[in-house]
Symmetry: C2
Subunit: 389 residues, 2 copies
């Protein structure tokens, strides 16, 4: 499906196994053949990983030429040594390719609090240039995974002003420790659209707020969350509205893929909060519903226990929605005061579908916002009880 003509022009990639934890791909680089306008958003966790600290410095001028990522170790809570390791990864990559260290953005994802096996990693960084192949972004998408079961890629085409075609190619990883807040997990978006005159940082923030920031798997906010967009510009100029749509669609598709592949996930919940006063109210209530263990387990078991929605909305103490104004629909069926017949319908809907559509109307205003979450299953427990051991 991801054929070479889907790649944006100007990007090469390399992926390999460095041996950080096992023998799967755990190291990847994407390099552009020129310096690119770029933008990024990062985790708001108060203990960001060393790569986030270094990445924030390197993106300050709005320019990047390469990204280096290792999986299986997050390089978080690793002190000055961790910062030095992240800087060295950038420098060794830059030296190998012949670019500036400040144009390399590093990421690491995996266990927290364990020093990187830095010698192995730097030895690989040193010889990266020889391994880079034009396009080849799927192998990079593979290398950044941790407990993810599959790669997450989303591609959109945009018509250029000159009648040609530009590409927006997005890659993400997710799986656990996922409630992006003001930021997100790892995601990289490459485009050959010429974005001159478009404020990439503003557009990325807007897209992230409607996509990655609307998902939750387990309410835990990673210390490594990073989304980056880089534009080579080779395909030529595009209408800003087309670029906005493509960027948003790619971000939403990647966000949904992260939820679908969440740890132990077998059901995805698509939650529309409608008639909200504003986005803050919608987000508070949307997240309270999707983070409730009792709702997540009810969805898991196909149990039409709609009273738990009342509980989860009611525990947002700051948002007092009169009960009579509240409407809750599951699979298009109103659930308040459900009789036995309705409960039967709901139970059947929950058991037969793997994408559960829920609509909650607050009767407080005109704002609608969509969120995505998932069931809580025994599989999540199993994956996380023995992660480092």
């Amino acid at each position: 499906m991801e054929t070479s003509q889907q790649y944006p022009q100007g990007f090469s990639a390399y992926a390999c196994n460095v041996g950080i934890k096992d023998d799967t791909l755990d190291f990847g680089v994407v390099a552009a053949d020129k310096v690119c306008p770029a933008a990024a958003v990062f985790t708001k966790n108060n203990y960001p990983g060393a790569p986030v600290v270094v990445g924030k410095e390197h993106i300050q001028d709005g320019l990047l030429q390469a990204i280096v990522v290792n999986s299986k170790n997050a390089n978080v809570a690793t002190g000055f040594e961790g910062i030095r390791n992240a800087r060295n990864m950038c420098q060794y990559i830059a030296d190998s390719i012949g670019i500036k260290t400040e144009d390399v953005l590093p990421s690491s994802t995996g266990v927290i609090g364990v020093p990187l096996p830095i010698d192995k990693i730097l030895a690989t960084c040193r010889k990266v240039k020889a391994g880079l192949q034009p396009g080849n972004l799927e192998s990079f998408a593979q290398a950044i995974l941790t407990t993810d079961s599959r790669t997450k890629i989303s591609v959109r085409k945009i018509a250029t002003l000159a009648g040609q075609e530009a590409t927006v190619y997005g890659i993400a990883k997710g799986a656990g420790m996922i409630e992006p807040n003001m930021a997100t997990m790892l995601s990289y978006i490459f485009t050959d659209a010429d974005t001159t005159g478009i404020d990439l940082q503003v557009e990325l923030r807007k897209a992230v707020d409607q996509s990655f920031n609307c998902i939750t798997i387990d309410s835990d906010t990673s210390t490594s969350d990073t989304v980056v967009v880089m534009s080579s510009g080779y395909a030529g100029k595009v209408a800003i509205s087309n670029f906005q749509s493509a960027l948003l669609e790619v971000c939403i598709e990647l966000a949904k893929k992260i939820v679908e592949d969440g740890e132990g996930v077998t059901k995805v919940i698509e939650l529309d909060i409608v008639e909200a006063r504003d986005e803050v109210q919608a987000s508070r209530i949307g997240k309270s519903i999707l983070n409730s263990p009792l709702i997540k387990t009810a969805i898991h078991g196909g149990d039409p226990n709609w009273g738990r929605f009342v509980m989860a909305i009611g525990k947002v103490f700051t948002e007092k929605i009169p009960y009579e104004n509240l409407a809750i629909q599951i699979g298009g069926t109103d659930v308040k005061d459900a009789d036995a017949q309705v409960l039967q319908t709901l139970s059947q809907y929950l058991q037969e579908n793997s994408e559960i559509k829920i609509k909650v109307s607050l009767g407080s205003g005109q704002v609608s916002k969509r969120f995505w979450g998932c069931n809580l299953s025994e599989g999540y427990i199993k994956e996380n009880a023995y992660y480092t051991t």
Copy 2:
């Protein structure tokens, strides 16, 4: 263990099966032989159950003479009918015993959104007087349970000023939907201490803030939370400091019993937050740690994944604790920068103990606060996935 001399003087109880869900005890009444000074705190959930609405009215004058509770149905999200049912329960009890309706406090606990089988319940209320037996509080403690596996009772003795003995006898139920916030789940505390001159409401609030409000099982705040204290006064006056200590000890013991018997719980976490700026900071960080699914599953699996503590503390965006000021101890062992030897020690501690002691030092001030939480196990999922079906 709970012998009759442990009962406070002046209270009688009755419990039976009404047939709300199955054939276990599901209905209980405690009645005093005189009107008692009383105080109560309730859930802050925005959709309180009908009994909470009625109970708030009846406690306003600081007096109660009886408590009526049914389990297996919460009488929440049941509209005007639900309110009328709660009022009728009080009235029928009052008529049977020959007391005032406004001196009866009702509670219901169980599934949300299902009308009470009110005819069966009122028929039982009508004949309650004949069933009341002096003391008999264990059968009441049994009748209020839902998914709890055992009764929760805590008793303390206080010397009276006249050299006699007064009793504080506390009862609670818990199990799931437990993160009491400003209030708690169902708990009833009976005493024969004469509390004239003691502000029961103030003392109850203080005790609750250090006990029930410091526990979390699953971060979900029930719509039915209620704690009540009633004092018959028969044993005579006590020193206020003795009463405070006994009340606090009873509340803490009941709170811990609720956590120990939480749904699917096999390990209890006792978390001390020390060197906090204030109680707000301690609570934000304490709750973030104990509600993190990744920490709860790591404790479940005996996985010494201490980086998850860094994540959970760091995701409290409002509380920026410099990383170098932060200290984390598990079972008395410092975990930051743990080497293989330390990880081995931690792993052994987590696997061999069912009460896990954790201390987190924030280096921000002088305030200490203790919290209790639990592991997240497959048992929690199983109990909650099929609750109503």
